[in-house]
Symmetry: D3
Subunit: 337 residues, 6 copies
């Protein structure tokens, strides 16, 4: 009699004591040592809504393969016994484990199921950003510089978080933040242009829009293009996203050949000074007013996302949230209006 | 034969050696002492475009009256001999001097001629600000709180500079800055309300608009209501404009009696935390997102005014401005686009 | 046959394995979640000298009532089984639980038994403070302002700690600290008045004494008037005790109507600047010498209390205390003289 | 006919155009160079109430002797023509000049006439300080340590200013400040001893009094013992008064031989930590409570002297003083009470 | 039948369940309390490569003796049952315990076996340092000062770590660091002497070499001379190694009597200013160029040791080390060249 | 009779009242306005050792040409009357003035006569630096990268100061500083390589040497290549020398094509992090030990030059220099050894 293929049960639907087949992300693999020096690994597997621990002891069956092959951020297919402990929470005992293979997609494996995403539609945001560039940058070669950069980095730009843990820390966050900042900048540019009609040269809207769209472009090189577990890259740590983004601008402008060099120079200055102060990460102070507009739009948009996320997800009793570790304060949530 | 009344010649039209009658502001009266201890006063009189010095020595004819009566910020009618010296510049020798009297208005005396003003029409700005309050604050008692405060302080609010030396340092500057910040806040509030439709309670636009309109209200008590030479007041120095403005809100709300106390409390919090950090002057950190919007609109508007003023008035050779003492940097002005 | 009423056994006298009836404070109720997302509560009940844990699991009998009704800071009557575990310490298993009722006082329930108090007699301290005001403030309306404020807030003023975790962090601490600071100020005022007899106006002793008595008055509004578990209030977090205390002064002076406005203004300035620097919490710098005296008396008294408490309670081996987290240093305790 | 001895006329009584004989302090001798490189000296001579300038040009008669011999801080007898100029103030043209000689005392020369002094009687203050040591230090050898140090440095201690330009910057200022701090410490020590009767070991009053008396002892070595023009010494700049004072204590204790070493050690610690923080000049943090008392008494006494001096000597119009450069603020002087 | 003496088994060779006799260092003894207030001790015993825990409960057999006698840093001979637990690691259950006695050396007890050492030969380093003094300090009495100080503190100087937890934190670290800094200083001194041949007086190489050799001499008094568990001393905490080292120099120079006082003064200045800034621990700024050379050699040598140790011992996956808590950064280790 | 050509007299040899022909650098041309608003220019002409002022008044003969044509940093041939005034120093009255022409070299005009130079021979330093690169960089393509960069910027590199006002502020200063830093780095690299033979990968000497040689390369683009009056450039201010130098490295490496990309990446990291901290100008922290060596060599060399220059040029009386405005301290110069 032919053996029937076992059914795939999502990890988050297993009941204590049940042994099932499921896909899971290895979210963490960290070394430890018992007090007498024996090494072990603490592994954490997860799907979208359940996270389970698996201790891999030096004298257990999985130690060698864990040390040699398993990598955080990779997906695995497991057969494992699920259990719950009051103290140690959900745990699994692995019976079989192998990396996910292409064929697993037939069984319904989809990496995107494992990732926290922006709530907004990626394609729509991307079209929105691209069309802001198309519509609002008047100088044609300069516009082409911006759209070329967007197109070349379209994939990672749409997948990346804005930051790994501060603001917009989820897939699509970079795009969502950039789109928001660009829209803010457009409005601010318009308002200030109307206020200072006599400034010579006038506020350069092309510069502001391009600066907004590209201000965090370097993030696509600063963290790995990994939807599931993005990590800082070597250039990311050695140089930072300000340098990396400005290099992309400089190289692409040189390659295109027809962009006004003065505009490129100003754009590069705007990019590296948009954090406003050396102690906030900008090697130079802003020397043109367009920087200021970008700086405030960027900072306000980032902070507001943090406030809203903190207020929306907080679970504390009482009228104040728990202390947000990035903001360093407890927000007031107990208001009725 | 009746003596003909002497003609009034503006100070700035006198030629060296000419003796004329003119009105002038005593812009400065400062004590000094010669190295052997004899006191004197250095007085500076000015009209709109010329400033002249008058040394008042202890053994001269004007010392007593200068010490006893003359006050900086007051206007005088003088008959004086005008002279120029290469080293010491324009000077006058006073023959007759008396304070300006009401009757002098017939001879064309107008204090407003002596003051630097906002380039914008005061009445139009005032109408603009008031109508923003009328239009955009939905809660009726809360709106009445704001308009009552505006109406009660309409005079000084329209005359005051935003600051004495940092940003918008000219008559009408407070109004111009407030109007600009309120418009910025309105746009930002709209954009963020659209971005975070699920936030509960949603961003409170009434709070943002009221906060913007009143954020520097305390300035009307912090400096003297003196078009010509506003000075810090005693309450201004002892308490600062954050406290003073928030007291006006608190007292007026109590007096009106029908304003939602929770809204008042939030507004007071927004006012005292809109400078964001203790070292920037805020006794508390912002605990609601509305503060952030006001803070960034305020800071951006103030800084941009400083940038534009510096770029527009700078006289330095070369592509950079002189170092702006408030901004602490030399701006880039040598760009063509 | 009538069932005899069970005897009340203090929690701290239960022996492992014993089931008893007792009163206890719910000192903490914090949410947690097992690794697979099941919520639970960790509750801590205590009496004066024993603290026990009770885990409330989602599938246990108390979860619902715990989530809905139990509140930290409230007292409960429990029937529970007491146990000790080497690792997890003292625990209880609840059989019956209900909030304390008025009738329980007949059985000996007294909330004050659960609280750490100042070692000094509250009534005596209160009389002391009040009589300092009566004796040393010469200006009658000004004295009435101070005593009125004291009388109106007599309850919370006597119950409140000076701070929740820094200095005098126990019931009655605010009063003990205030009394001590006032006595210090009196001595200092006397000494400096003698040193500077020619100062005009002389050091104002009324101002110093009133400032000392009222310098932390705002604390009564900054934390909840809860003997057992005081918590920051909403106004406390939104405005801080400097603002709140000064508002009490301002409102009461206005109400009384006969207090010298200049004295009130100086007192308000002293209150909001007594922390000396913006980064220490004062929105304004001290502009009159009386502030200095209050600032140093306050700071010295607070720091000395922390030193003495740290030295008296430290358990470390060796000549130095453990690092005090507030003071940020290890004090020297190993001296013989 | 015998030539009559010319009469000595005080410098401050000369009238313009008069040539007289007088004693004067050379208060300043600073080199300069004309724009084409010719050297000159600007010398300033003064008596108690008049200060006159004398330019010594390279091609004039006094250049050589000025360069070679004249020293700031020395007294001279001059015959000189006195003149006044509006711009350059009081000046003299020297006819004869020589250093003051012993015999000049017969003609009324007294250096003390040229110096700003403490308003208090030096001998009385000295007796006061010494008797505080005698009366309030119980441990006999420790008391002898303190009195020995006082006696050995009695001269400079009575002449020195507390600082050259910050607080008590006049002859006798060190003694006046020390006496005041010691009195403050005594009162504070008494008050705190009463508050913390259970502290073990109790607050050591001997330590506090000795610390107060000796806390600035190092000043006598930090500036030159020159009543007229004290200057920083080489050890003063290389080591600072904390080190220097503590060395005096250490050496003297070693020499006396009978002082309790633990007391000496504590005293040394109190001396080097009495400025409280490294950024304020203390290499170590205070680790015993006695330091705190000394620190606050010292800081309060110094700051109050600066406030009182600023308020008493300010000449500005209006209710606020000019900005005090050391305090960094404008004090409020316009109060009536 | 005579009982045979049990064999000594090193702690790190025991197998779970085995009971053995061994020597061990009591590395830590810290008090704890169960949640219901029962005291206990957590003791950690270790030899070179295994560390085991022993819980000493209040009702167990060892509590009294542990509280009364056991001291961290002392060695003990134990008979104990060894066990391993997945969660709590290696533990022992003590059967017999007594302090190590002299006679134990016959059984192979050697304290040095329990300590982390510099990888370099101590005697060779010491000879190296001494001969640098002999060879490179030209002034004979000054050289004698240095060698005398070295000889008098030879023992602790060779045993001490440079710091307890920052750089060179192991036995012999002070000597290794000092030798390295001295060699660096010699080279730098030579190079700069060649660069500035016209400086008067020239860079003083004697001063630089002596400063380098003695710059951390005070460490021998700042921590206890305990090879196994050095601890801060009382003078170490009250005064710090800058003061302590400079006192040794001062006292020894005075004792020797023939050292050039100007050299001693400069050396003392170099010692107390070699940390360059008050906030880095120097009470005075460097006023002679020799300080600079020492400061940079010292800082570079210390930082490089931290970098090398972090890079060599790090276990993190990926191209960056874990965050070093002292350096505050993650170093780049994933390079191939 | 033919008119004889007037003799050229150096400006610094003119005597008061003499009218002569001479070459001079226009070192400064700054606008001013008299108190009544008339514009004027203050011009400063100088040769090597004399500097003279020339006031150009609005109604004088030179105003127009001064405003239109004269430029600071250019050389002029003048015929002018020289005069000296006690108060205003050396001044000239211009009779004829024209820019220097090529033909003037025949009359002995040489711009180098007007500039402060490094005391060292430029060609020798250049050969020294180049040969350090040739000798000590082992990797051939990497060495070619360094020498190519040197050769391409040889001219400005030899002419530029290291900084405009902080250290090595004279022509040739950049080269002198770079050579010195490179030599220091070589020695330090050798010493540390010997100390840490087991580090993997070992300290990369190629990287250290290349980093040292190129660490300030960006200075050649940061200031204008003007021997006489170098000024910050636009890219210099917008980006700073760290960015500019690293771009040169990146572009040249890309062009050469054969340089190990990992080496280039490390070199770029070393360049942008060699200032160690963001607040000192480095956008990233040093993540490899080679950075540390360069940082300390650079900082020490710069500071020592400032110390030596201050000590060598100071003119103050007494044992301490005047306060150096960059170092912020008064150095000790009064030592004999």
């Amino acid at each position: 009699m032919p053996r029937t293929k076992p059914v795939i049960v999502p990890l988050n639907e297993l009941t204590p004591g049940q042994c099932g087949d499921f896909f899971a992300l290895l979210a963490e693999r960290s070394r430890g040592a018992t007090r007498d020096g024996k090494p072990f690994f603490t592994c954490r597997f997860r799907d979208r809504s359940r996270s389970v621990t698996c201790m891999v002891w030096a004298d257990g069956p999985w130690y060698e393969v864990c040390e040699r092959d398993w990598q955080a951020g990779h997906f695995y297919k497991l057969r494992a016994l699920y259990g719950e402990s009051e103290r140690y929470g959900a745990q699994i005992e692995i019976h079989i484990i192998r990396p996910v293979a292409d064929a697993d997609q037939e069984d319904g494996f989809n990496p995107a199921d494992f990732v926290e995403h922006s709530r907004h539609d990626g394609a729509a945001m991307w079209d929105g950003l691209r069309s802001l560039a198309e519509t609002h940058i008047v100088d044609e070669p300069f516009r082409r510089l911006v759209t070329t950069l967007l197109d070349r980095h379209a994939g990672p730009f749409q997948r990346a978080p804005a930051t790994l843990g501060k603001f917009y820390p989820f897939a699509g966050g970079l795009l969502e933040h950039t789109l928001s900042v660009t829209r803010l900048c457009l409005q601010l540019a318009e308002q200030f242009a109307a206020r200072y009609p006599d400034l010579r040269p006038p506020l350069n809207r092309d510069l502001i829009v391009a600066g907004a769209i590209l201000h965090d472009l370097g993030r696509v090189l600063e963290v790995s293009d990994d939807l599931v577990l993005p990590q800082p890259t070597i250039p990311g740590r050695l140089f930072g996203h300000l340098f990396l983004g400005r290099d992309l601008v400089r190289d692409t402008a040189r390659e295109l050949g027809d962009v006004n060099p003065e505009l490129v120079q100003l754009l590069e200055h705007v990019l590296i000074s948009h954090l406003a102060l050396p102690e906030w990460g900008s090697p130079r102070l802003p020397l043109v007013p367009e920087c200021l507009i970008l700086h405030h739009a960027d900072d306000l948009d980032a902070k507001l996302e943090m406030y809203v996320r903190c207020l929306s997800s907080d679970k504390a009793d009482g009228p104040f949230t728990n202390r947000d570790p990035v903001l360093g304060r407890q927000l007031y949530k107990g208001r009725s209006i």
